[in-house]
Symmetry: C2
Subunit: 338 residues, 2 copies
DNA sequence: GGCATAAATGTTAACGTTTTCATCATAATG
DNA sequence: CATTATGATGAAAACGTTAACATTTATGCC
């Protein structure tokens, strides 16, 4: 293993000079720098990060913590987030991935081990972890879940706007009996999407009907179960907004089983726009949320916070966009007359 | 930041003793050890891994490298793999995740930075990376892709057996015109699954028909395109084996569009058994492969290799299992007479 | 050409551990 | 009781780097 001292010897300078040259210090003569750079390259020098980190008191590591790897809410999540994060993360940062729930002693979440934290959070249960990390003084940004506490940097999607867009779309298409299958209780995103849904209904002059609020938990099965309840209603809804695509798929399955045709007999709107949404039968109209975008912006924010501790603490929310496919029927015309 | 010297002072011993006590050295009196452990806990001591690693020449880090984060072949892959890996990985190992293609200088893949490598590989293009890491002397195991080189530790699924099971199942159900939509060219798994398919046909006395071999690339779209080709044939197949579930979904879409009913007019078999396979319309019969299992076993193998450099280099292959759902029609009876 | 200043390089200590080797106390041995 | 082995602890060095401070060399100015 070759060190800067070896390079120093080869170059006939002190190891300090080598260190400076390799780190781009301004007080090294260009000639010297080039010479040293060349020698280092020739010798295949690779810096020892342990030594480096020891003296600089950095860890060179960003930790990505996930609400729960085990009961992975949605699988494409991680991949998309990772894509976004990697796009804005310098290659020589290490990025570690762990589940919050698998951290059994918070000790290991320590400023010495992480220069910064990206926390992909889903529910308030993660707060203990978040506040621990904050108390430990590690720069962090919470992704994906909207926080109430303005002292914590936060990047999430505009769930409420998304829910609203879904409801408004249903109304615009002439639907009047519009139901919702809600996300997991206690998850902020579930609250927001529901509230957006209500807002949208109200904005179009429709009163939300308590009968049409079905509880789900973001899982496929919960979507199916909730839809079964909805289908059993005397006055079936004509459109159902599912608070994520997984539940929409479950809901579709309930319809397949009962021979309820989509969108002729029932319209469906999802949320997330995961890859398969375009390939369900029929293709699912859904609200697109960019997890990669959240990852990207979150990382940029984190980097800023790490660089200067006085960087502003931002709460940024990324827009959602309704993508129309074929799971919503156009009832206009009929509805006028009904 | 508190160090072992602080603990030493508090305990009235030398920092060497503290180090030994905390690391479970046999030459510390039990009483001393407990006393020190207590003080360390009280002071919230957290070891400085940079210092530790500097002197032990370890990195405490396992690197998980992925063929390609960008064009993520299948999104649940990463999550499943991570689950398996984490199950068998001691919590105080750091696990970093990167894409092979995003590593632009192989320099950073160095024994100093990684104690071991888990390489989730898809194609031979990863070989450069693999052999670089091997040459650098980092213990590694290649996951998910079967390797020809017996000098490299390897854990993958029995793709060939899986392909064979699919073909045999189709035959057993009375199908005679059986097609395949192949995986991406150059991917070992694609070759293996195709070969297994051929083996299965042959074992049941059916001759593979070149007309029924359609090329795909594991993407949804390629599945759809390939299926369209197959549907245009004069003598349509009655069953199609898709080399992964994504392509099966694409294939289903082609059928939906043309009004071809599954399984009545066409039977479909997938591969992977991803989460959504049970929720397609109809539910997809497919070959289950345990990515988590591969991750788990691969990690265990890696740990063994890291511990003792003379540990045996194993190539382990994990069984696949056909899971029967509703996308394959039973043609027995008819086929006898035809 | 001498002097002040700036630019470039070198010396040394420090970061927090583990490890080698030395020392001291204690127990076992005859 | 002296001697030896052994069990427990300590002192000092080492790991590879950066940083504070010191020194040398080059540059500009009158």
């Amino acid at each position: 293993m070759i060190t800067i001292k070896d390079i120093a010897k080869a170059a006939g300078v002190s190891h300090t000079t080598v260190s400076r040259a390799l780190n781009g210090s301004a007080l090294i003569k260009p000639g010297t720098r080039e010479k040293i750079a060349k020698i280092a390259a020739d010798m295949n020098y690779v810096p020892n990060y342990s030594a480096k980190n020891l003296v600089t008191k950095k860890s060179n590591t960003i930790g990505l913590f996930f609400s729960s790897l085990e009961q992975g809410t949605s699988s494409s999540f991680l991949v998309d987030a990772l894509k976004g994060i990697r796009q804005s993360l310098n290659e020589n940062y290490m990025l570690t991935v762990s589940g919050i729930d698998e951290v059994d002693s918070y000790e290991s979440v320590h400023p010495r081990r992480f220069d910064g934290l990206l926390i992909m959070s889903q529910s308030e249960r993660d707060n203990r972890f978040i506040y621990h990390a904050k108390a430990a003084g590690i720069p962090l940004v919470v992704l994906n879940r909207q926080l109430d506490d303005p002292s914590i940097p936060n990047v999430a999607s505009e769930d409420r706007r998304g829910g609203r867009a879904a409801a408004e779309h249903a109304c615009e298409m002439g639907h009047r009996r519009i139901a919702i299958i809600e996300g997991r209780q206690g998850f902020k995103s579930a609250d927001e999407r529901r509230q957006g849904f209500i807002d949208g209904l109200l904005a179009r002059g429709r009163a939300p009907d308590p009968l049409y609020f079905a509880q789900g938990d973001y899982s496929i099965e919960s979507g199916r179960a909730a839809m079964e309840g909805l289908l059993a209603l005397n006055d079936r809804p004509t459109a159902v907004f599912c608070c994520n695509d997984d539940m929409a798929i479950g809901a579709m399955n309930a319809c397949y089983e009962r021979g309820v045709r989509i969108p002729d007999e029932l319209s469906l709107i999802g949320f997330d726009d995961m890859m398969f949404a375009a390939y369900t039968n029929p293709p699912l109209t859904t609200v697109r949320k960019s997890v990669a975008g959240i990852g990207r912006e979150g990382t940029e924010l984190l980097l800023r916070l790490m660089e200067r501790s006085d960087a502003p603490i931002e709460q940024r929310f990324i827009g959602c966009e309704l993508v129309r496919r074929e799971s919503v029927a156009d009832l206009r015309g009929q509805s006028r007359r009904s």
